[in-house]
């Protein structure tokens, strides 16, 4: 593929608002996970909750879009001068030539969950104020961001469970390649809700304490939430040597099971191989791998096998979900931003919380930060339905 530049990027998760706080937390090997106190949920698990999301207000003309997911999106847009960078790009390329491609799994479904508690006792009707299109519908987050930034280009939500906001990089890049747009706002927004907390609990996939990816005693995921955005464009004379490029994307399906990964990581391997092929790179060109690394026994085992089968046992890798939790549909975007920070700051982030690496997992898992010049990083995102996506980012110079 022809590389694109991430001319601006930002992330908000439980470890911080914006890239400066996110980087500081990574450098300090700090986890943002805490016992679950979300809403009325009293499950024995940890979550990565972004503080004070519901204190955020949307601009007054967006009253009907008020919900936790759009508030988190708004917080994200306000960090790192991201909204201003999009405005600058929109003026430069034209508002109809800037597309919006966001990933989410549950959008604003929390709003519906709350509405179902407030049904009319006689008729069963949902409250008058409940707005389906602006909060519940999967598209609502892209609809909000597109209107908020007054963009007129193509726009869509990619909703492939936990691979959603990795796959947006592929969708946006194809549309730039096709010449339909000149720039793309990509990323993901997913927020805490009852469906995912009780859902993963029902599958017995939630860790009790903070998640410990690749630990011998790992016992599941910690659900998080995030808003992560990047502005993708063709490189120009404004592109600097420490800018980050999108070098390749690979997508695949397991064709195996709805909620369990293929035991040998068959689909994961195909996605990583496809990303390398797309980027025109050999496996040894990758300096660090940001794993999907959810912390479930099955994911980490299958991903480790897939990584080793492609890269051998020596490429350093880690999961940053011990720090951020699993941001589900926003995980791919969040971890792309973390990978971009890793490239710019010569940082391989260690996998926090993990104490004793499972020695039966053959991938080279690093528990503590390493400082090393990185040229290229691969990040993995896999989801329910057996959907997989690997993204390769690299330094411009």
């Amino acid at each position: 593929m022809i590389p694109l530049v991430l001319s601006k990027f930002t992330a908000t998760s439980c470890i911080g608002r914006g890239t400066a706080q996110t980087l500081a937390a990574l450098l300090a090997e700090r986890s943002g996970l805490a016992p679950c106190r979300f809403e009325t949920v009293r499950l024995d698990t940890h979550v990565g909750e972004v503080p004070d999301v519901d204190a955020q207000r949307l601009p007054p003309e967006f009253l009907r879009y008020e919900c936790r997911n759009n508030r988190l999106a708004e917080i994200g847009l306000e960090q790192d001068g991201f909204a201003e960078a999009v405005e600058e790009a929109a003026r430069r390329v034209g508002r109809a030539r800037l597309g919006v491609f966001l990933g989410t799994s549950t959008a604003g479904i929390l709003q519906t969950e709350l509405a179902y508690r407030a049904r009319d006792p006689v008729t069963g009707a949902l409250p008058e104020a409940f707005d389906y299109a602006a909060t519940h519908n999967t598209f609502s987050v892209t609809d909000y961001v597109r209107r908020r930034l007054r963009l007129d280009g193509p726009a869509v939500v990619v909703s492939c469970a936990c691979a959603s906001s990795a796959k947006v990089f592929a969708a946006a890049r194809r549309m730039i390649d096709a010449g339909l747009i000149d720039a793309a706002l990509v990323g993901g927004v997913d927020s805490l809700c009852l469906t995912t907390l009780y859902g993963f609990h029902s599958l017995q996939l939630c860790a009790i304490g903070p998640c410990r990816p690749f630990d011998v005693a790992r016992d599941g995921i910690s659900i998080g939430e995030a808003a992560a955005f990047a502005l993708l464009e063709r490189p120009s004379n404004r592109t600097a040597s420490d800018d980050v490029l999108l070098l390749g994307v690979g997508e695949s399906n397991d064709a195996y099971h709805m909620s369990a990964p293929h035991p040998e990581g068959r689909g994961a391997r195909l996605a990583m191989e496809a990303a390398l092929l797309d980027a025109g790179l050999e496996p040894d060109a990758i300096d660090y791998i940001n794993l999907h690394g959810t912390g479930t026994p099955s994911n980490d085992r299958s991903e480790s096998q897939a990584v080793t089968s492609v890269f051998g046992p020596s490429t350093p890798c880690s999961s940053t979900k011990g720090a951020t939790g699993h941001a589900l549909g926003a995980a791919g975007g969040l971890e792309a931003v973390i990978s971009a920070l890793a490239l710019q700051h010569s940082l391989m982030p260690g996998g926090v919380n993990t104490e004793h690496v499972d020695e039966t997992l053959t991938a080279h898992y690093i528990r503590h930060n390493r400082s090393a010049a990185l040229a290229r990083v691969l990040t993995n995102s896999f989801g329910f339905g057996g959907t997989n996506c690997s993204v390769i980012l690299g330094r411009a110079g």
Binding site: A125, L126, Y132, P154, S252
Partner: protein, 264 residues
């Protein structure tokens, strides 16, 4: 770059529309269209266990996907795919929300796994063994257009055939009052970079800001009643089989113009 592809396979399922061969003459207004409740066939592709686990929306998506692939004479495992839906599984979502409104919520693991927007694509991949890239989109009432655009862009950029599956079904009460979709509707296409012996037409799309084409009644009511039925103007022109241009509903301030050139 021209954003174009050949339609090598097609399928439709909706109120009174039971597959492309039965529907073509009605869509072309050669025979009167009578709206009857949508009949969904049992999901022949799935194992007995999976069949018990899946609802109407997955059955709808799998039925039209299989019909389009068969019409194209293609091998399902050799096709990439784009699935697009505004709603996903509304019945499953309603039942989850009811359970989550209980004082001590308990939900079924299967119901949760089925709640993902990509459930139908997952079942399709498992049923057909296709490991090729698949994506799942939503753009509210513009979901069909978003899917058509994504599929055609993939054909244009990567020069590989692709399966497009667009589907939406009804929510039960009380959600139906907030999002009224009276019945299930789906359309599927196999799109290819090169003309094949049975190809129906060549499509070329461009973004524009013209208003979408409206149909005569009763098809116009159907078009407006279900997000996936926003495909009807395209289906009508393919059924008529003459060179035509249509504009499909996408987003506020953005529509998709489709030039249709029959292969016959």
């Amino acid at each position: 770059m021209k954003i174009e592809a050949y339609v090598t396979g097609i399928a439709v399922l909706g109120p009174g529309l039971d597959g492309w061969p039965q529907s073509r003459a009605m869509l072309a207004a050669e025979r009167p269209y009578a709206p009857l409740p949508t009949v969904l066939p049992p999901p022949a592709l799935l194992s007995a266990t999976e069949r018990r686990r899946t609802g109407r929306v997955v059955r709808l998506a799998l039925a039209i996907a299989a019909e389009a692939v068969a019409h194209a004479g293609a091998e399902a495992a050799a096709l990439r795919s784009v699935f697009t839906s505004s709603t996903g599984d509304g019945q499953n979502c309603h039942e989850l929300c009811e359970q989550l409104a209980e004082p001590a919520p308990e939900i079924s693991p299967t119901r949760f796994a089925n709640s993902v927007h990509n459930a139908a694509a997952g079942y399709w991949s498992i049923a057909t063994g296709s490991m090729l890239p698949s994506t799942v989109l939503c753009a509210f009432d513009g979901s069909f257009c978003a899917g058509l655009l994504e599929a055609l862009v993939q054909v244009a950029v990567d020069q590989e055939p692709i399966l497009l599956v667009s589907y939406d079904a009804d929510y039960p009460p009380p959600m139906s009052a907030k999002r009224p979709v009276p019945d299930a509707f789906g359309a599927a296409f196999v799109l290819a970079p090169r003309r094949a012996p049975g190809s129906l037409a060549r499509l070329e799309v461009t973004l524009c800001n013209e208003p979408p084409e409206r149909l005569g009644e009763p098809l116009e009511t159907l078009r407006r009643s279900n997000p996936a039925a926003r495909a009807l103007p395209l289906l009508k022109h393919l059924a008529v089989g003459r060179r035509a241009r249509t504009v499909l509903e996408y987003l506020e301030g953005s529509s998709l113009a489709v030039d249709i050139e029959p292969c016959a």
